[in-house]
């Protein structure tokens, strides 16, 4: 059974689905961002699994390592770029969340829409600040 051998791919795809469910179904924006991060890491995980070689070694030639046994370096170089872009996206999104909370006092997407339709909106209530 191929799926049992490719269990890394299967795990990455399950994690992607968990992240996508969070982005769609959870109403809290911070939860949505955590879901987005889970999706990103799952895609990175899939790429690295694609580049893996049975009994492979890291693609570093120090000490005269054999290039024929090395794992695929291209996905790793791509994903290194991806991780850094992911943290940039997260930082920007979180600063927008802070601004949104200052303006509307809620992190709930449904309430944000209701406020836009002319509901009551005050500043942050601060009742459950940590």
């Amino acid at each position: 059974m191929r799926l049992l051998h490719n269990y890394h791919y299967a795990a990455a795809m399950l994690l992607f689905c968990i992240g996508l469910y969070t982005v769609i179904a959870r109403r809290n924006i911070i939860k949505k961002l955590i879901g987005l991060n889970i999706m990103e890491t799952s895609v990175f995980f899939f790429y690295i699994s694609l580049g893996y070689l049975d009994g492979g070694i890291a693609p570093i030639r120090t000490g005269g390592a054999d290039p024929a046994r090395m794992v695929n370096p291209i996905p790793q170089a791509l994903i290194l770029t991806g991780i850094v872009v992911a943290v940039s996206v997260t930082a920007l999104a979180l600063s927008l969340v802070i601004l949104l909370y200052r303006q509307y006092g809620t992190l709930d997407v449904d309430r944000l829409y209701r406020d836009e339709d002319g509901g009551t909106h005050g500043g942050p209530s601060g009742e459950d600040a940590p």
Binding site: L15, R26, D128
Partner: protein, 84 residues
């Protein structure tokens, strides 16, 4: 041996992802997400990607988590009630 360890890591990954998604306390969710990132870094080290493991441990488990925590301290810690 190696396969068993991989399976343990993958089970932990799925478990921490589900816990992070369904925790009511946002701070707890973020800390669980940092554990998820750390296990992911270990998994990548097992897949012979030490550069990425280093990056994920520093960026995913460190910087991203702190940015989330700062945001939660600036906003609110609990999810709002589900009222229709």
């Amino acid at each position: 041996m190696g396969t068993a360890l991989n399976l343990v890591f993958i089970a932990l990954l799925v478990a921490t992802a589900l816990l992070a998604v369904f925790a009511r306390d946002l701070l707890a969710a973020v800390i669980i997400f940092s554990v998820y990132s750390l296990i992911m870094a270990l998994m990548w080290q097992r897949l012979q990607a030490p550069d990425l493991a280093l990056t994920e441990a520093a960026v995913g488990a460190g910087v991203t988590t702190v940015l989330f925590v700062v945001t939660i301290f600036k906003t609110r810690r609990r999810e709002e009630e589900e009222k229709e």
